[in-house]
Amino acid sequence: MSATGAAAAGEHPEAPLFALDVLWFHVAGSLCNLECRHCFVSASPTNHRFGMLDLATVKRHLRDAEHLGVKEYYFTGGEPFLNPEILPILEAALGQGPVSVLTNGLLIRSGTARALRRLWDGSPYSLDVRISVDGWDAASNDPIRGEGSFERILAGVRHLAAAGLNPVITVTEACQGAASSAGRARFLDFLREIGLPKPRLKVMPLLRLGAETGRTRAYAAWENLRGRTLSRDEAAALGCSSGRIVTSEGVSVCPILVDSPEARMGSSLEETLRPFRLSHSACYTCHAEGLSCRT
């Protein structure tokens, strides 16, 4: 196996950009209607560090993405459904490729669910609504995502199911035991019980950034990739070898590192079509735990 991203002694390796397959949009900026205790970008109702992306900005980058042959589009925040233009934005993206939108589900009421169903019906491509929840019940979820959030998340899930959409449920390892096979089985049963007969589940490791550093801990000094050499397969498994994210402050390497100035690679997609040095501790999580942000 050929090696790539080789690091000189004591340096961090680089991830090449093999192809721009995945384009993320930080569509809600850092604004959120929850203030989750494990949020790695510390999104909250009062965090205005990143602004929202408007439809015109998204369309401009979509044109570049079309030229580059991008394969998938992702929308995240903050909470994407706080963006007043989110539906036309999703419609524009679905016009040229498959879309995933990452949401807490609180703003998905019946009208929004029906509107999403219309977008699904109007495109040949897949639309995935990814809803985050962190427990099987209010007692496990609410201490992490906020008082009363469990029932409101479930209401969003039920509205989607009623509209004939089957969301992907995302749970982090903040939910004790969710990553074990018994935990997964329990979660899948729970999803069937709440009206998802074909449950889809994604379990994500935690990132020791943002609010999570206060809930558990920050990265330790040894958690980094200094001096490592990545094989081509290992580099290909990293999101930064096939993706970029558009934010209000420019184009960054990945959705995890939007807060890191060193991850900002340019103002246009074209400027970011180059390798990225894996110098952040979060790069260790992606590599060591096989984290993939894709649906």
């Binding site: 079309e66 394969k71 040229q96 491509y125 995935d128 074909k198 889809r200």
Partner: protein, 276 residues
């Protein structure tokens, strides 16, 4: 995504043809393979190409390989052949979910243990890609995608701009692939696009027992693609799978026409079409 096979894929040039049949994953369904070859002969094709994954899922993997070799089918490696020929300990199917992985493991171990060493050596001699011309159009045959043997090209996840990039990057008019198990095609203009020839190994998650292959022929400036349904003795196959101790989930798929495994890898739109 790069070519992560770790070596430059061998490419064979098969010359110019008018009408050809493409067989996707056979998954040891030798009964459907026999019927598909008969149907291809009835259509007077110039050649038959098998795009890899001859084993997996079904019973008696040697039977399909022997039929392919005796019939003179042009074959390329799928991830199964690459894994078997290199002695790998798993199929490199590209699954990301523990349940999918569990069934993939059973399938691969059974296939490896029941494939003759000589057939495994033969698999190592197969090319990774084949180029040919169909009428005036250049076709590139691959297993998953032109760039990665185990990349899934699903209908709902393969947008037009991405197809344009594939055709441009790989200097071809037509990409012919399999790996997903679901057949589809899309042409951006006559003779330029993607044909995913589906699978002979199991039904298309549509409630029908039939399996599918593709016939592509020159037509005017472009090509025409027909997907051909294959009816075969599916009950016999299901019973043989049970006799071999393969999981009941597999024979249920053969009998019902709906997938029971590999579900998590399905995109939202393809998942919505099935029962599970």
């Amino acid at each position: 995504m790069p070519d992560v096979t770790g070596s430059s894929p061998v490419i064979v040039d098969a010359g110019e043809m008018r009408r050809v049949a493409f067989l996707g994953g056979i998954y040891s369904n030798y009964l459907a393979l026999e019927r598909a070859l008969a149907l291809a002969r009835e259509r007077c094709v110039d050649a038959v190409f098998a795009l890899g994954d001859f084993g997996a899922f079904g019973p008696h993997p040697d039977r399909s390989v022997e039929i392919l070799r005796e019939a003179g089918v042009f074959a390329i490696q799928g991830n199964y052949e690459e894994s078997l020929a290199s002695g790998a300990d798993d199929c490199h199917c590209g699954y990301t979910d523990p349940r999918d992985d569990h069934f993939a493991r059973i399938s691969y171990d059974y296939t490896r243990d029941n494939t003759a060493a000589e057939h495994q050596r033969w698999m190592g001699t197969l090319p990774g890609h084949i180029r040919l011309r169909i009428g005036g159009r250049r076709a590139l045959l691959c297993h998953g995608s032109p760039r990665t043997i185990n990349e899934f090209l699903w209908r709902s996840m393969t947008p037009d701009p991405f197809i344009r990039r594939l055709l441009r990057d790989h200097d071809t008019d037509l990409v012919v692939c399999t790996h997903t198990g679901l057949h589809w095609s899309r042409f951006l203009e006559p003779g330029r696009g993607v044909v995913n020839c589906g699978a002979l190994g199991r039904p298309a998650n549509d409630g029908r027992r039939d399996v599918w292959f593709a016939v592509v022929e020159a037509e005017g400036e472009g090509v025409r693609c027909d997907f051909v349904p294959v009816a075969y003795d599916s009950e016999r196959l299901a019973r043989e799978m049970e006799d071999e101790g393969l999981p009941p989930e597999f024979s249920t798929t053969i009998r019902t026409g709906y997938w029971t495994t590999c579900l998590e890898i399905l995109p939202a739109r393809e998942r919505a079409l099935g029962r599970h």
